[in-house]
């Protein structure tokens, strides 16, 4: 009997030795796992500032209402949700959905999920976390809920940070918004290391610079008992303080941005005044000519980014999506590619000169129309000046934007049977996204024989005809570019052939204002263009804005700063008819270019009468000038 006792005690001691001495630390870690619940301390998100440090996106404290299911007595959730929805001015269905979405794992998706509301209401799914029902509630709602806590068991008010926009809708398209990461995004590589419930930047600069702006969430360790109830609200050691996010200093200038947005409205009002009553959209780009810094980039119509704070309501969202709203969320500067019309002509000039197709002294006669010298082609192409321009050299053709001249150039390129013109368009920044630090940029398109073959089914359509070359030469047909792409091309003309990568991020500074990272853009790509070519094209553009016969001279002829710019009136197919998109692409000062400004007004009619005056408004701001609002001319293209 004593022997058995010794054996049994031996077994117990051996086991204790194993558990306590050999695995003690491991079990200690598990005991701490048990007792310590982690509460996320959200880091305040960094601000987005303009180049002078003016805050475009900041933070403000907000109040969120959430519910903790474990504190809701069994069987009362359904009724409480209805009560809560009434206080929050929401539909009960939406409150239910918030709770369901929180409890439901990402997979399988809702129709197949086994987590039904019936089960949740029956208390089968209990959650210790605070499920946020509505963000950014008013103080009135908060005091009501606090006064009626007895009717709302489990409902808690949480203080958090919300995005604030001191300049209202300024630069709305560039900023993006913030929101909780969704299940799909969690699977993406870009978001590895992010956790469910993390707030991320969605769209715009918030998206592009999320990793700096977000900071690092902290963790408070709170001791909880077996039922997950906190023993006290004082955190125990072992937590981590949140590190506030760094701020993004942008290249934007709040004043220039505001002016660019105003200029669009002005351009549209000019279009309306000129009879173009359909004009209802536009974009403006202001680039630093040498480095590609974006001083302003506007798109019209715009929206109020504050609508997204705390989650956009279905009503607001539907309003933005209505056809009559004309896609305000679309950033027309980078997300819409259209024919650029005559603003393409400098590319013809550069390509023609560089490839030796023409010389600066090559002249063509314009009688108002053009027919390719091919027997079977009976198409007659018209110049915008129906009476014709007479005999023009290259500078004159650029000055007056003669279509016939460039039809001839286009035909010469067609004759050469190569793709030199298309290659030059691409070399100068078309057909490829500019690489600006914003998501969603489109790449534009330069049609080539290869593209035709890929894009069209029938053999006739696949043929590269003289018409394709002619269309391309006047920026029509299948050619499409974004306002930003055009700005990059004009910057190259202005700066001597450097294709800049436009960028809005300038530097990242920490919460003390110390620079953490210099967001220098990639070195510009140099395109070899001979100085003589540049001189000719530049003088053509300068003449266009200054000489009495120039297409925008009525706007810039007497302007104190020498502007070089090209008008464009692009025919764009809009559902059932062609409409005219008004373009103006320019740089200034002409002799030492600092800025590139491109303005596009959808359905605005003539570039000279609509886009050029809008551009002038921007130059007024850039050069600190006060000039009367010009109304443009009737002479135009």
């Amino acid at each position: 009997m004593v022997g058995i006792a010794v054996v049994l005690f031996g077994i117990v001691l051996f086991r204790l030795w194993f558990l306590q001495i050999l695995s003690g630390q491991e079990f200690l870690a598990r005991a701490n796992d048990n007792r310590l619940a982690s509460v996320k301390l959200v880091a305040s998100r960094g601000s987005i500032q303009d180049r002078h440090g003016k805050v475009i996106v900041g933070n403000r404290p907000g109040l969120a209402v959430g519910i903790r299911l474990m504190d809701v007595p069994d069987g009362t959730l359904d009724a409480e949700v209805v009560r809560l929805a009434r206080v929050l001015n929401e539909k009960p269905g939406k409150v239910r959905r918030e709770i369901e979405d929180h409890l439901r794992p990402g997979w399988p998706p809702p129709p197949h999920s086994t987590m039904t509301w019936t089960k949740i209401a029956a208390g089968e799914a209990v959650s210790l976390d605070l499920i946020v029902i509505k963000e950014d509630v008013s103080r009135t709602v908060m005091s009501y809920l606090l006064e009626h806590t007895a009717s709302f068991p489990g409902v808690e008010i949480q203080k958090n940070y919300l995005r604030a926009y001191p300049h209202g809708s300024l630069a709305a398209h560039l900023l993006g918004n913030v929101g909780e990461i969704d299940a799909e995004q969690l699977k993406e590589k870009r978001f590895s290391g992010y956790a469910s419930g993390d707030v991320i930047g969605r769209g715009g600069l918030e998206w592009s610079y999320d990793r700096w702006l977000r900071g690092r969430d902290g963790v408070a360790k709170i001791e909880v008992d077996n039922f997950g109830r906190p023993k006290s609200h004082d955190p125990v050691p072992g937590g981590r303080l949140p590190e506030p996010g760094d701020s993004l200093v942008t290249t934007l200038d709040v004043g220039v941005q505001a002016t660019a947005e105003e200029a669009l409205r002005y351009g549209i009002s000019l279009a309306h005044a000129g009879g173009q009553v359909e004009a209802n959209g536009g974009a403006a780009v202001v680039l630093d000519a040498r480095h590609g810094q974006v001083l302003g980039m506007a798109s019209y119509p715009s929206f109020d980014p504050a609508e997204w704070v705390g989650g956009i309501s279905t009503k607001d969202y539907n309003a933005l999506k209505r056809p009559s709203a004309n896609t305000p969320l679309l950033d027309r500067a980078i997300q819409e590619q259209k024919a650029v019309g005559s603003t393409f002509k400098p590319i013809d000039a550069i390509a023609g000169l560089e490839e030796g197709v023409i010389t600066p002294y090559t002249s063509f006669f314009c009688n108002g129309s053009y027919k390719p010298p091919i027997a079977y082609d009976k198409t007659v192409w018209h110049c915008w000046a129906l009476d014709g321009h007479g005999t023009l050299d290259l500078v004159g053709a650029l000055t007056q934007s003669c279509d016939v001249y460039f039809y001839n150039v286009g035909y010469l390129f067609w004759q050469s049977k190569g793709t030199e013109l298309e290659d030059w368009a691409m070399r100068l920044g078309m057909n490829k996204a500019t690489g600006i630090d914003l998501p969603g940029e489109v790449s534009g398109r330069v049609p080539t024989p290869a593209w035709l073959e890929k894009h069209f089914k029938s053999e006739i359509d696949q043929q590269w005809t003289p018409g394709d070359s002619l269309n391309l030469a006047v920026g029509q047909g299948d050619l499409e570019a974004t306002p930003l792409q055009l700005a990059v091309t004009y910057a190259a003309v202005a700066n001597g052939g450097y294709i800049v990568q436009p960028h809005i991020g300038m530097k990242i500074v920490d919460s003390q204002g110390k620079m953490v990272r210099d967001l220098e853009a990639r070195k510009p790509r140099k395109v070899d263009i001979s100085q003589s070519t540049l001189d000719v094209v530049r003088s053509g553009l300068r003449e266009a804005a200054s000489s009495s016969s120039g297409t925008s001279s009525s706007v810039f002829g007497a302007y104190p700063v020498a502007v070089a710019g090209k008008t464009g009136t692009a025919e764009v197919w809009d559902r059932y008819h062609y409409v005219n998109y008004a373009w103006y692409a320019s740089y200034a000062p002409a002799n030492d270019p600092k800025y590139v400004v491109v303005v596009m007004i959808e359905k605005g009619g003539h570039g000279g009468t609509v886009a050029a005056p809008a551009t002038r408004m921007i130059y007024d701001k850039l050069f600190g000038l006060k000039s009367d609002k010009a109304t443009g001319t009737t002479r135009s293209d």
Binding site: V2, L16, L19, Q20, G24, F27, A31, N34, R35, D225
Partner: protein
């Protein structure tokens, strides 16, 4: 026997072990329960100390009394044991789905705890009366039959743990009685056979004597991850408590206990409390106290002046060993969860009184063995 003789012939090591265990136990109950009743850190300790005092008074009386008297009233004692066990079935209050306690208004009474002592006295007496029939199969069978009635009654409560303790006690007493090893072999064989029949054969005939979930619960300790919610959860939390105690324990940082992760921390899982708070060192001290206690009980079994004393001391000593091993084994994950309390340490008034009475009985046997030198040195196996 005068009071000088009485004091001279007490087994002081046994008393020391008992006092040590009770002191240790009450201290641990304090640490395990001080937050359980708001504002009353001593609520459980007070109840337990009252039981100790009551038990001590009764134990002194028992030690003074010649244990021969129980032999005379063996059937009355047996009858009383069965009576209280029957009484609990209609009268008892249901706690955690089991009917184990009778509410006596000022305290609650657990019949099965007292029944163990009564069964030891009565079945022990039955065996001691039949020394001349040593080796008879009938004695073995009757003894088993005698324990079967109360064992089945507590099984009905249900209190599977007490059933096991009763069987262990009876087998231990049969051992000290001198039952042939062949009987044990046959018993073991038939138990195994019955197990197989109940588990494999009867289900084929459509009779499910043991439900599969009962088996799962019983053997959940073999694979604790299998059922981390219920029994498995208790074992995991208990092992975390024991393991996290490491060498010297976590003292006031014993969070498994204070934050209620450990279930039944003042009753069945008190050993985990000890181990978490005091570590390997503290657990070993408790084990040393038990070893000392069991050694003294077995020694008294060998010293006893007669078979009755020997059977009682041996049977009860082995019963303590069994309970200690099964209870601690449960908390460290090598034994199934059966709900057997840790003698002298687990919270529970009736059990405490019964165990202190049992010490009184051991002292009575010791006194009568050592006070009469003629009986000294007589060995039972």
């Amino acid at each position: 026997m005068g009071w000088r003789d009485y004091l001279r012939h007490l087994d002081y090591l046994l008393i020391a072990a008992t006092v040590g265990l009770i002191t240790y136990g009450v201290t641990m109950i304090y640490f395990a329960t001080r937050h359980d009743v708001a504002g009353q850190p001593f609520a459980f300790v007070r109840q337990q100390l009252i039981a100790v005092v009551v038990g001590l008074a009764v134990a002194v009386a028992i030690s003074l009394l010649d244990y021969e008297i129980y032999r005379r009233f063996q059937w009355a004692l047996y009858g009383f044991a069965v009576f209280i066990l029957v009484a609990v079935l209609p009268l008892g209050e249901v706690v955690n789905g089991a009917r184990r306690w009778i509410d006596l208004r000022f305290t609650s009474f657990q019949p099965s705890a007292l029944a163990l002592l009564l069964l030891a006295l009565s079945i022990g007496a039955y065996l001691a009366d039949r020394m001349d029939m040593l080796g008879s199969k009938r004695v073995t069978l009757v003894a088993l039959g005698l324990v079967a009635v109360p064992a089945l009654l507590v099984y009905q409560e249900p209190d599977f743990g007490s059933t096991m303790v009763m069987l262990a006690l009876t087998l231990a007493m049969l051992y000290f009685y001198g039952t042939s090893w062949t009987h044990f072999a046959v018993l073991a064989g038939s138990a195994a056979a019955a197990f197989v029949v109940a588990l494999k054969v009867l289900p084929l005939a459509g009779i499910h004597l043991i439900q599969s979930y009962q088996l799962e619960r019983l053997f959940v300790f073999i694979n604790v991850g299998h059922d981390p919610s219920d029994s498995g959860y208790s074992i995991i939390q208990s092992m975390i408590a024991v393991g996290s105690g490491a060498l010297t324990g976590r003292g006031n940082m014993a969070t498994q206990t204070t934050l209620d992760f450990l279930p039944e921390h003042h009753t069945d899982f008190i050993f985990a409390v000890v181990s978490e708070r005091n570590g390997f060192v503290g657990a070993s001290i408790l084990l040393v106290l038990y070893a000392l206690f069991i050694w003294r009980a077995l020694r008294i079994a060998t010293l006893a002046r007669d078979m009755y004393g020997s059977i009682l001391a041996g049977g009860l000593g082995v019963m303590v060993l069994f309970q200690v091993f099964v209870n601690i084994g449960m908390t460290i994950g090598i034994m199934p969860v059966t709900g057997i309390p840790l003698p002298f340490v687990s919270y529970g008034g009736t059990a405490m009184i019964a165990f202190v009475m049992f010490v009184g009985l051991l002292e009575a046997i010791h006194l009568r063995a050592t006070a009469m030198p003629s009986n000294r040195g007589r060995l039972v196996r």
